[in-house]
């Protein structure tokens, strides 16, 4: 142990580290550390500690804090150490403060001065230490204090200092771009630094700057390209070589920058082609760092304006990555593939087996990356398989963060590509069942809206089928224990709206189920509220249909419970339910119409339904209502009032309620003022009610001039300290009472009327359309927002594809029968699609093939549907093999064996290999191409435009 001591540790520190190392539990460790903290607290505040001792204490403090304990009592000592003259002590002080403090800490103010001084030091190490602290501890406010010195240091003779000064400037830029915006040109200048290290460091800030604003750096393309060229040609000092690669980290940074600059810019990209091509050739793919550069090249190639030759090199590199045994390289390969398929979708298909291998891999990171790739290449043809896989995986993991992500992706894909309504509902059910509490509540609302609005524009039967199937599945799912709250809300809502709609289930059955839900999840108020509202709807529909409503006993007891609930929301709902049940059929039908959740509710803002009542009142002598805008002379006042209101809200001490009652008292004293009542809006209903009795009598006869009234009001205003037209001495505020009289009445009817409306609106609000939802809906029902990425969105497409799938069902089943006859040993019908039963029976472990086949299924089926050959199995095999032959390059016969030999089961491989070859021959002659052309025509007829010019629909699977 003695030899490990090195440096400046004392025996004590060694013992501390040792005892912590030997601690058997966290509690024991904590005890030791707390003891240490006590010791340090005592020692550190002793006077006249030798510097060396002090330094060790600080190091021990850092150590203690690293173990997660509070060392703030010693911060001030660390700050003091930065003032020290000795370099060693000073550096330790800086190290400690950068680890201890953040830029907003109170002690920073004590350090800024020291930093300023140290930045001017002759000793470059002092400067470096200060720059380190600058990076970590200077905030927006203190930047100006050190900025001049830092800028000066950009020209420091030591490259290490220049490098750090550049980075410090970059840090300032990150913290507050405006404070250093005039110094940005310095980054460009430093790019030409003599020292390659400084140049390399400058690339970091430039990368950030270019990310923010590409266009102002286009002029640097040539410089970057020439630097990269020089680096690749080994013009840099040997010291920058790493594992025989010339300055690979600089190359990577440069490639990243070029990728940004060349994105969507043909001219800039053309400058890069040569050098990137060179690097592709020169890269040593046997070392890790070589592959890192290769990967960066692929990223660059997939980002800049496409060049066929480079894309080819990139594809080669990817296939090398994917074939590698290293998980790291596979990971990078999958990632790179995800980037490249955006440009050349066809390259994915040669790697499908590798992709499936990665999906099956025990390495979680790799699996996730592969799911990301699958997500990127989902089409309407493969959505079922991919989403099923995703859901299976989602169920298997515990990581909530990733679960949420996968769930939302499933939802997204399902909404975009759902081949059928049935499938969509089932998928959503699965997602909700297993990750219900993790998905966004909007997803649930969206699902409800979808079920309510239906898929088809005019196809009512399809919609009602959708709803019945939803109801069926929900009733089934309700049997499961412990469903997520969000899912239950959806279930309750759907059961309420459509539970009895198709007549399959009786109202008492549905209400029974709803009561069960409310009882089983009795601590979830939201679910209970949904359940009560659903019950109300069911009963309302029953009443509207004219049948007699018998409330189930459990429902009655539930209602009794809710009527006394602590939740006002539940209480209100329960009372509403009670009230609705008491109404007659006609009334119920108008407040609770069946399947009207998507109807627009017209709000009668003019309150025209009150016309009769008003007419009556006017006939009886009431004053007609004068709209505020038409009241002569009222405009200014109302303006003032508005201002006053603003004022009040800003000052916070002016409350109308305090002022007005005073006036009522006044007004009540002189009864004479009663004569001058008028219609004037008064915002205080309380006050109005108070004075109501005194005013009503005279209200009818009052026709006092509005000027008078105005004056009075001015008086009121003045009380508020606001200067108005003329001072009025009037005492009366009865004026306003009258108005209030009229207004409160209107208000009253207004609210009572909106009561019923509100219930609707609140229901409606639950499925309110937010922008996100609209976007989702748009992608679901046509106008897709993601067209370029996923051209196959939209309702029509999913319809057509579901049609195709349906169509293909018949031949599939017949084919299954056929092949079953051929190979009775074979149990799972899925595998039979292979067409060569012997292989499967020999090789039960070739899972990847099953997977592949799963991915292929939809289209192969379609293809075989069109293919009227005698035995389905025979037609099937060429289709699968067609996948290999359809790839553009001629290497594929060879590639087949390569890919296949990558499989774990050698004997099977051989066999397959044999069959492959024969079948390749078959398929090249076979009707495959013609088929797919026909199918393409069919697809076009249905209004779908394939994304690629190539009509072969296998492309849609993995490309």
């Amino acid at each position: 142990m003695g030899s490990q001591g090195g440096f400046y540790q004392s025996k004590e520190f060694l013992d501390l580290v040792k005892s912590i190392g030997e601690a058997r539990s966290k509690a024991e460790e904590d005890r030791i550390v707390l003891g240490e903290i006590d010791t340090l607290k005592r020692r550190i505040s002793e006077p006249d500690i030798p510097k060396r001792k002090m330094k060790e204490y600080i190091i021990r403090l850092v150590y203690v804090e690293m173990l997660g304990h509070d060392a703030s009592f010693g911060y001030i000592h660390a700050v003091k150490m930065t003032h020290d003259d000795s370099l060693l002590v000073k550096r330790t002080g800086y190290l400690a403060v950068t680890l201890f403090l953040n830029e907003d800490h109170d002690l920073i103010i004590l350090i800024v001065n020291t930093i300023q001084k140290d930045l001017k030091s002759d000793n470059y190490l002092v400067v470096c230490a200060a720059l380190n602290a600058v990076c970590k501890l200077i905030n927006e406010e203190t930047i100006p204090a050190v900025l001049p010195q830092v800028v000066e240091l950009l020209a420091h003779p030591k490259e290490a200092v220049r490098k750090k000064a550049i980075m410090a400037l970059h840090r300032f830029y990150q913290k507050s771009p405006s404070s250093v915006s005039h110094l940005v040109s310095n980054f460009r200048k430093r790019l030409c630094d003599n020292d390659p290290g400084v140049m390399g460091a400058t690339l970091c800030p430039l990368f950030d700057l270019i990310t923010i604003d590409v266009n102002s750096y286009k002029d640097l393309v040539i410089s970057f390209v020439s630097i990269l060229k020089q680096v690749a040609e080994r013009r840099l000092p040997k010291a920058y070589d790493y594992h025989q690669m010339p300055a690979p980290f600089i190359q990577i940074k440069l490639l990243k920058i070029l990728a940004l600059l060349g994105s969507g810019d043909k001219q800039a990209s053309e400058n890069m082609y040569t050098v990137v091509g060179d690097i592709f050739r020169k890269c040593d793919s046997s070392s890790n760092i070589g592959n890192a550069v290769l990967y960066e090249c692929i990223c660059c190639v997939s980002s800049i304006y496409p060049n066929p030759k480079l894309l080819e090199s990139a594809a080669d590199a990817i296939s090398r990555f994917l074939k590698s045994d290293s998980h790291n390289l596979k990971y990078m390969g999958i990632d790179a593939l995800g980037r490249l398929i955006k440009i050349s979708p066809e390259i994915a298909e040669q790697h499908q087996l590798a992709v499936i291998d990665c999906l099956e891999d025990p390495d979680d990171t790799l699996k996730r990356k592969t799911f990301e790739l699958l997500y990127k290449m989902t089409k309407s043809t493969n959505v079922e398989v991919i989403v099923d896989r995703m859901i299976d995986y989602m169920i298997s993991i515990n990581d909530n963060h990733f679960k949420t992500e996968i769930a939302s992706r499933c939802v997204e894909l399902a909404e975009q590509f759902a081949p059928s309504n049935q499938w969509f509902i089932q998928t959503m059910n699965k997602v909700f069942e297993h990750a219900g509490d993790l998905v966004n509540i909007k997803v649930a609302h969206n699902l409800m809206r979808l079920i309510a609005e239906g898929f088809g524009e005019d196809d009512d039967t399809a919609d009602s089928q959708l709803r019945s199937s939803a109801v069926d599945s929900y009733l089934h799912i309700l049997g499961e224990p412990k469903l997520p709250s969000v899912f239950l809300q959806v279930i309750c809502w759907v059961l309420g709206e459509y539970g009895t709609a198709d007549g399959k289930y009786s109202a008492s059955f549905i209400t029974g189920k709803l009561c069960d839900v409310a009882e089983a999840y009795s601590n979830d108020e939201t679910v209970k509220a949904y359940a009560v509202t659903a019950l109300m709807k069911i009963y309302a529909f029953e009443i509207a249909a004219g049948s007699k409503v018998d409330m189930l006993p459990e429902c009655q007891s539930l209602m009794e419970e809710f009527l006394a609930s602590h939740s006002t929301d539940l209480q209100q709902r329960a009372y509403e339910l009670q009230a609705v049940i008491g109404l007659d059929a006609h009334a119920v039908e108008s407040i609770m119409p069946s399947d009207a959740s998507c109807e627009d509710i017209e709000v009668d803002k003019a309150l025209s339904f009150l016309n009769g009542y008003i007419q009556d009142s006017i006939e009886k002598g009431a004053q007609p209502y004068i709209p505020e805008s038409e009241r002569s002379g009222m405009l200014n006042i109302s303006k003032f009032r508005n201002q006053d209101h603003h004022e009040a809200s800003s000052h916070g001490l002016r409350f109308e309620a305090y002022e007005l009652p005073k006036q009522t008292v006044q007004s009540r004293i002189p009864p004479a003022s009663l004569a001058s009542t008028e219609l004037v809006p008064v915002p205080e209903p309380m006050y109005a009610r108070e004075s109501y009795p005194t005013t009503t009598v005279s209200s009818a006869s009052s026709d006092a001039g509005s000027t008078e009234l105005k004056l009075r009001l001015d008086g009121v205003q003045k009380k508020w300290g606001r200067q108005t037209h003329s001072p009025a001495t009037s005492t009366s505020s009865t004026t306003s009472q009258k108005t209030v009289n009229g207004i409160t009445q209107v208000d009253g009817s207004n609210t009572s009327n909106s009561r019923t409306r509100e219930t609707y609106e609140s229901r409606k609000q639950q499925v309110e359309i937010t922008p996100e939802k609209q976007k989702l809906a748009a992608s679901l029902f046509g106008g897709s927002s993601k067209t370029e990425k996923k051209p196959a969105t939209g309702h029509k497409i999913s319809k057509s594809s579901s049609y195709m799938v349906e169509k293909s069902h018949v031949p599939k089943s017949s084919m299954e029968i056929a092949s079953e006859k051929k190979a009775p040993i074979q149990q799972p019908p899925d595998l039979l699609d292979f067409g060569e039963p012997t292989i499967q029976s020999n090789a039960p472990s070739i899972d990847p093939f099953k997977e592949l086949e799963g991915l292929l299924e939809p289209t192969t089926e379609v293809a075989s549907a069109k293919n009227h050959s005698s035995t389905a199995a025979a037609t099937k095999s060429p289709d699968i093999m067609g996948l290999y032959t359809d790839t553009p390059a001629g290497i594929h016969n060879k590639d087949d064996s390569d890919i296949l030999s990558g499989l774990s089961n050698p004997p099977v491989t051989h066999m397959l290999d044999g069959t492959t070859r024969t079948q390749v021959a078959q398929s090249s002659k076979g009707p495959n191409l013609k088929d797919s052309l026909q199918k393409d025509a069919l697809v076009r007829q249905m209004g779908v435009t394939p994304s690629s010019p190539n009509p072969i629909l296998f492309k849609d699977l993995l490309g």
């Binding site: 142990m1 490990q4 001591g5 090195g6 440096f7 400046y8 540790q9 580290v17 190392g21 690293m66 997660g68 304990h69 509070d70 000795s86 370099l87 060693l88 002590v89 550096r91 330790t92 190290l95 953040n102 000793n123 190490l125 990076c135 970590k136 290490a160 490098k163 750090k164 980075m167 970059h170 290290g197 390399g200 460091a201 970091c204 800030p205 990368f207 990310t211 010291a239 920058y240 790493y242 980290f249 990243k256 890790n288 760092i289 890192a292 990967y295 960066e296 290293s326 998980h327 790291n328 596979k330 990971y331 990078m332 390495d363 979680d364 990171t365 790799l366 996730r368 990581d399 963060h401």
Partner: protein, 166 residues
Amino acid sequence: MIKAVMVMNTQGKTRLAKFYEYLPVEKQQELIRGVFAVLCSRAENVSNFIDAESIFGLDSRLVYKHFATLYFVFVFDSSENELAVLDLIQVFVETLDRCFKNVCELDVVFNYSKVHTILDVMIFGGQVVETSSSEIMKAVEEISKLEAASNSIALIPKSASGWRSR
């Protein structure tokens, strides 16, 4: 940029933790624990990359490498290349090895501030500034030489080779 560098042993004891964005101590500990929990669950022969978004928030990846009893962990965002960071860890460890001759866990524990010095030469404010092991060594040696010279009371051997031989 690089968000954090951590070194921990296979029992989960932190040996070095450096965060390039300020985080309160409790948060740091929480993250370290989170990282260790994930590292523990990783099998042998799997990739060195972990999607760290569930621990560190959006846009964060994690690369780790296992040497003897230590995990070296770098957390960074999408502006870095995973394979390159893996090599950065390699550079870091190679430098430590040059510095301490057959570096082992105890070297890292006892020469805590030295390890920080090395890291500070390599990574500055979250950006990788030096990737050549020999350059790092040169800088570190120079620092210790000057430190020794400026510190009259220090009883330190004057060259890197003598650091451990007291």
